[in-house]
Symmetry: C2
Subunit: 565 residues, 2 copies
Amino acid sequence: MADYRFDQSKGYGKLVDQAKRINESAFHLRSLVMEKNRCTDFSISGGGIFFDYSRQRVDRAIMDLLFDLAHEADVITQFSRMNAGEKVNVSENREALHMAARSFSTVPLMVDGRDVRKDFRGVLDQIQTFSTRVHDGTLTGSTGKPFTHAVVVGIGGSYLGTEFVAKALEAFADQSISLDFLANVDIHNFGAIGSRIDPEKTLWIIISKSYTTVETMANEDLIRRFMADRGLDPARHMVTVTSKGSPGDQGGGRELAAFHMFDFIGGRYSVTSAVGGVPLSIYLGYDRFERFLKGAEAMDQHTLSAPPEKNLPLIAALVSVWNTRFMRYPQSAIIPYASPLCKLAPHVQQLNMESNGKSVDMAGNFLSEPAGTVIFGEPGTNAQHSFFQLAHQGKPFPIEFIGVLNPQYQMDEGRFKGVTHQQELWANLLAQSTALATGKNDENPAKWFSGNRPSSILVLESLEPEDVGRLLAFYEAKTIYEAFLWGNNPFDQFGVELGKVTAGSLRKVMAQKNENPGYAFDDVDPLNRPYLEMLFSGKLAEQGDAGSGNTPEKVQLTREKERRG
Amino acid sequence: MADYRFDQSKGYGKLVDQAKRINESAFHLRSLVMEKNRCTDFSISGGGIFFDYSRQRVDRAIMDLLFDLAHEADVITQFSRMNAGEKVNVSENREALHMAARSFSTVPLMVDGRDVRKDFRGVLDQIQTFSTRVHDGTLTGSTGKPFTHAVVVGIGGSYLGTEFVAKALEAFADQSISLDFLANVDIHNFGAIGSRIDPEKTLWIIISKSYTTVETMANEDLIRRFMADRGLDPARHMVTVTSKGSPGDQGGGRELAAFHMFDFIGGRYSVTSAVGGVPLSIYLGYDRFERFLKGAEAMDQHTLSAPPEKNLPLIAALVSVWNTRFMRYPQSAIIPYASPLCKLAPHVQQLNMESNGKSVDMAGNFLSEPAGTVIFGEPGTNAQHSFFQLAHQGKPFPIEFIGVLNPQYQMDEGRFKGVTHQQELWANLLAQSTALATGKNDENPAKWFSGNRPSSILVLESLEPEDVGRLLAFYEAKTIYEAFLWGNNPFDQFGVELGKVTAGSLRKVMAQKNENPGYAFDDVDPLNRPYLEMLFSGKLAEQGDAGSGNTPEKVQLTREKERRG
């Protein structure tokens, strides 16, 4: 393993040959997918998910070689080592223990001589107690009113996963508490939320591992000001989710409570830790959060125990690497035919692209080409009426369709054209995947469909908290298996550093201008100086026919406006 | 023009050579962008937008050749012809008159011997009168209560553009009317809205040109049932936006009012017609909708009058075609540093990918490669904490950054690290674009940044209704110019047909099963049959270790629950 290099592996060259065979032969999904046993032979259930890769441009020979590659990269062993607490995040010398956050196992898991299971259990108990006090009204804001709004203040990994889960389970949010997300250092983001909530009844959940994330800290600062300005004690409206001993873990009346997160869980893998636990327990009730954890645990158990040929996340990862490197598709879409999963694609975008958008492998060698792929998506059928024109007749890309057998809502909806909404939705899901695979000949070139466009179908039985947990764990494991195949470290993100440093320099000159209005940005590079001038004058540079001629209409964030929201 | 073919044009070969030169030479954005006049020389203002392409991998020679290509493709003439009412949508033998929808010109515009300006004016007047009656309470629901919820029922072009604008101007929504979008034929979509609204105070706006769109009709049917079941008269809670004489334009008490849309405006270009006009006037007030139209008109006037070298949408289109075909970037991102623009990317995704995701040109010839590109995006700085790892260190793709000089909200926010939220946001926008262009050398490969990654920056002075109109019109014109360069028809969408036909067949067998539970799908292909079995049994096929073991928790859409929402 130590000397495994993806593009120098034994399997790599063979798979390049297979891709050539597929591309040059008459291999067309049209004929393949209609084979009697194709669907049964190229699909698998596990951990409560059904995964069908029969509409992918693979055959038995290719799958065998992909499994050989997985063996060569020793991915199963690596995954187990990760689960056992080894320091698989080599560049940062850390463990990757997100699976421990949802393990209800009582077998000790020792990290640096300490059983971390007890730490997890302690945080869960604290979440349960706290959320119960919020729900039964024993905990109130500083004017004695119960909390009816919760706002998650966090960005990236402290935001996207929780938003995905909250949206997916919105139908079950029966705690009479709304949930908003203040992620961006954008006054519009704050303004919209500030207009919507009642500050007296609002609980702010500040999430930052280091408690130094600029966006989050700027928002925390603004919240304290906003609350104090309204005669409310910020400390009685605020909890933190942060590392032990961070600036957000001071106690002493600076916040109502601090829930700990751990170094060995990275942001994008943190939904099942306190990062998701605090807001989701408040929004959905602790019991549902625990059910969500148990679904994730069930998928973890599948992933850890199933042999490669029956391992859903591994097979999905193999197909993804096949599509990206060997078939050379430049992006991949996730299209859930279930509106509650509308925030899955943005979550997986972060999870996968931040984990695998890398140019170096774990040993620090440059890869011959960068790993990873662009992921995007919108729910179906919406996507059909949006960008599927290109999916059918433009440059091809693989799609992961997701379907749910039993919807969350039950109502007597009657039938339109002989079918229910749910059936119509499924007819469309299947039709898209089928049409992409089979295509259609037509004498009119504008009505000709190439077909041979790959997709997978992933099926959930329902959209209960457990199912959302399964889905989350599936995509986490798939991402990590992909990384182990590419050979990169899925747990670091050095690619975000340069932007931060550069922003720091620009912030400095802006602060200087704030201090000294006469300062003319003389020492700023010619690339950015025109923008600083525009920003501080509030006017567009006139490099052409006209300015905007706007008469701005400003929204004041007054108490009256807040109340109306 | 008639014989223009993109990949056989004179300009094509030359640009291929230029791309080779750029890729093989030492041409690196790092040195280029720091040239003293680079930013001023490669940026332009017009129609109230500032557009900077100095961080793109182009130089004067390349831009000159791109302008030559535009000349060869005769794009300016085509654009004017479109505006003058010629039948530029050749495959459907129709005009493309979206610009007329926001033109306040009084010069007649004759289509088939009829001045369509009067038709547009008539619809606008009707919208103004109707929305005023909703706002002043003279129009009420069937129990005499004023409307406080409006729900847009439409999909694709009847949804995405309006959602973009409504979200962008949410801060100004002072009519005490909430706006929801029921797009999908997904009971979750209906269920979530049904739980949120008060049916007695709800106005449903059904939008479908043909009034046969399956999703919309299935929802219309469900709404009538839902309202009637609650003792409410659906006809007094419903308006339609549809073609004259369609099944949704029957009058006779089937709806409160019908607003006409026209054959010569396609769905994805329809936001400035009644499609956006009815919901946006109700949500924001008619005056703001008219201001939005005027902003779009200002950008149209720029586009129609500016010479190619100063024409923002044309330059943006040239850069996009350069990046897609000659630099061979496989996708493009739109990253607005302004949360209210969070729905711009999904709108442009439809607008551009459905217009240009084509394999044939206007004359019906196959292109040597499909046109168009994948577009995706999320607001910054959120995107920095999500997928920008890949943008910096994975496979490169071009990015369109969008900044706003003056935010919608005004509040005393203080300063964090010496700067306001707005300044911090701008520091990040500029930093990302700079870091992508310049990169950074580092001895540690994991901390090395290639740079040379292209981006554009688009600046708006503020986010007033006019600005959102400008932005909308900019992206429409850019899309159309791209099409004229590729040589394809941006107004048809034959690529969505096959899926519809296939869904029809599947719907039929589902309906058959509903009628006759003994029917066993014997005649369904082996590809889809397992899914029909799963759907009708409600159980996952067990192709592996286990089913889900779920105990479903169903949400009933009862009147009590609705009231709580």
